[in-house]
Symmetry: C3
Subunit: 153 residues, 3 copies
């Protein structure tokens, strides 16, 4: 299997560099067959002028979800030492969107992350998901994505 | 053991029909003994006039939590091919409530989901839970519920 | 290994008494090697005058995150019957902060919980994390923390 970085390049994406955790946590922790990837955000400041549904359109937020998912894939690759064949299945994606009280299109926003995971990982990237609209996110990001992944120990 | 649909009927509930996922995710994904059920919402538009604590009372929100839990049970039944005996334990329920900043009774709302799970599944339905008040939910729902379930592979 | 209560005392903390669940859920549920701890809050009413970023400073919210983590440790100890040697690794912490739409320092707040877990459990307490700002929390708490823990069955 190609590496995640190669697959991302084929899809026209640049694999982001994984920055050290912003504070006292780890990007990835594994217990047995369960790998947990910490919440990864889109662009810091993307919601600085207001949340999705006000200052940010659905399309802009979808792009932020994709960026968050790219960061998630960088963390996933780091967790696996580059060996993507150890991924059995992405089980769950948590998608948090900094959104207005009246916002309704969380699904369309979250698809920006979900579609990337499927494009990169195929069937193994098709996951269950909870998408919700929150008040705010770290560093005024517009989207944060975390994951549970079933892996070969 | 009776099927989930039979047990729901005994309790006076109609099992909802599971609609296809609204977007690019799966309702249920299993890895080993861990089954993940995607976030299921109550009635679309229930929070269209405002969140719980403003336009919606605790009682109305409890009813929405129960509807979300009925949808969760429909997804659970689909995941198990109707064989509820494969459920060992519902481990965790995530309960997201579209609520005002000042709202305090998330527990009473979430009980609408928790009580249904226990009524249907007995001891195996008694779970750990995180209930929080969010800014908004997909399709202007008032409540969204997701789950981690320990199952026989 | 010392008990969690002994280790907390060494660090100058008093182990809180675990109150019964406020409503229809369990504080801890285990399935195989996966232990789920329910959402534990900081001080009830801490956000009664407004959310973090408005009525509450980052420092005050950090202290609330630490209190929530102390309650989480009390639930963890109860789950393990006091035998902390059964903890292999804290896998994931969910940190929910009642915060304003413009708030940006969720990481600094969540560190109040993360640092305590590492101080008490060492390397086994270093976890992946998702920290988000929500509209409101049960009992007008300012912070709620839940966990997934990898344990010896």
């Amino acid at each position: 299997m190609r590496t995640l970085a190669q697959r991302l390049a084929e899809l026209g994406h640049t694999r982001p560099v994984l920055a050290p955790p912003a504070s006292k946590y780890r990007h990835h922790v594994q217990g047995g067959e369960l790998l947990v990837i910490a919440g990864q955000i889109g662009t810091p400041g993307a919601a600085a002028d207001g949340p999705v549904g006000a200052a940010l359109t659905v399309e802009a937020a979808r792009a932020q979800a994709q960026i968050a998912a790219l960061n998630l894939l960088a963390a996933l690759e780091a967790a696996l030492g580059g060996d993507a064949s150890r991924i059995r299945q992405v089980l769950r994606l948590g998608v948090f969107i900094a959104a207005t009280p009246g916002f309704a299109e969380h699904g369309a926003v979250a698809d920006g992350a979900s579609e990337l995971l499927e494009a990169v990982l195929g069937e193994r990237g098709r996951h269950a998901r909870a998408a919700v609209g929150v008040a705010s996110l770290p560093r005024q990001a517009a989207v944060e994505v975390d994951a549970l992944v079933w892996v070969t120990p």
